[in-house]
Assembly symmetry: C2
């Protein structure tokens, strides 16, 4: 039987709130067994870009990454956020190592080719090399990934953190029984966006299509769920989406929304 591996993604308001992040990381550190953390950090990158006088553009919730924005992202994601998370996890007794996709050639990508929009230095993932990840996981290292990949030709690329989490979960599911958990600022996928008590417990591919047509699931939640279904299809055991405050319940599917096969 395969050993278990948790792949947990945090983003949005959690990273932006020092107190919440600190509590979350203590929860993460206390989880027994193999675990990987993937973080975003868009809000802080936006703030730093503002201070540096670099203008930002978003299309469909995705950042247009020009050369200057790529610099900011590399500084904020792979530097400030990643290393502070690692230091906080070390303080909580969790032996963390922070990586981006260029480290150990772990996540190779290509610059996105899009018929209409030039997203700039945005990477679509080609390949996750599970070998180095496995070697570190087996040494009881908890890996912390910033959402950067590389093209193998010296270029770093900005890649959606949800996608990074999904691709790592997929690649590792060959070796481990992988649970993928997306933590964000809501208690799950909601029937009614203004009612935090309207969490949808389970979503199958059929109900997803239905909820999307009814405009209940929309905007940033659509790629999140598309990623979840792609992960299930590739062998990930379960995908759960919920509030970062409830990490312990989320990892046991006692909170949030579970994305499941029909």
């Amino acid at each position: 039987m395969k050993e278990s591996l948790l792949v947990i993604k945090i983003g949005g308001n959690i990273i932006d709130d020092e107190g919440k992040l600190s509590l979350f990381l203590k929860d993460f550190a206390s989880i027994k067994g193999h675990k990987i953390l993937v973080h975003g950090g868009g809000k802080m990158a936006t703030r730093v870009a503002e201070v540096m006088g670099i203008s930002q553009q978003l299309i469909d919730g995705r950042r247009i990454t020009d050369a200057e924005t790529l610099k900011v992202i590399t500084m904020v994601y792979a530097g400030y956020i990643n290393k502070n998370i690692v230091a906080l996890l070390q303080a909580a007794g969790c032996n963390a190592v922070g990586l981006c996709g260029a480290d150990g050639n772990v996540i190779k990508a290509h610059k996105r080719i899009h018929p209409v929009t030039d997203y700039g230095f945005v990477g679509d993932v080609d390949e996750v090399n599970a070998g180095l990840i496995q070697s570190l996981v087996e040494q009881n290292v908890s890996l912390v990934f910033s959402p950067l990949t590389h093209n193998g030709q010296g270029l770093l690329l900005n890649t959606n953190a949800d996608t990074i989490a999904q691709e790592i979960a997929k690649a590792m599911s060959v070796l481990y029984e992988v649970s993928l958990v997306y933590c964000f600022e809501k208690p799950g996928v909601l029937m009614n966006a203004t009612d935090d008590n309207s969490v949808i417990k389970n979503i199958t591919l059929t109900s997803f299509i239905d909820l999307k047509e009814k405009n209940i699931i929309r905007e940033g939640m659509i790629p999140k769920l598309q990623n979840a279904f792609a992960a299930l299809e590739a062998g990930v055991k379960v995908v759960t989406i919920g509030h970062a405050d409830n990490l312990q319940q989320l990892i046991h599917q006692q909170s949030g929304t579970s994305i499941i096969n029909e």
Copy 2:
């Protein structure tokens, strides 16, 4: 017999010059065998701090690291510089992984206590944990270290890159036959600061004291050489200081200044 391990430090003008850095990294990538790179990056950090409106202060060539400066340093050193070096090394066929001292608890330090000057968030190294470094080195990973350490209580600390290189070299000399190479913008330690042809081939502890008294060796070169002698004393085989353009010669002591036992 122990295997060989090279610990190479670059800083100053090399990192600041894209063309030179790229050539240097190709040279580094072409070196056979186990190797570790340690980088600084003060000039870029100063530029980013200026753009962000954060004022900088240096005492004896060492940056006073207030909370805002620590943020900039974490972004620039561990983020921008470290990950771009890793991506460029990957492009040159060298399987690099970028770390700071918090990653894997590799370099633990304490906040400097100084009777006169408050250096701020500056770390003096307590301990290098060679285990994870060795495990990655044995997997033919070339480690790239940014000059940040941590105190084990969640705080990142700015640590002189020369010191980082020296401490890693010392710790690894228990396991490997370590050569420590300091690359900078001069061809070696000079008898006459304005004459690049006046390289001193060898320096012993006795000649160091003499050259220091004559004010030939001064300023930033003093801690560099003090580090070198401490490294020799702790078991490092040889320390060489020279120009980054001559890396291939430097690693064979055919260029630069060699710091040797009496």
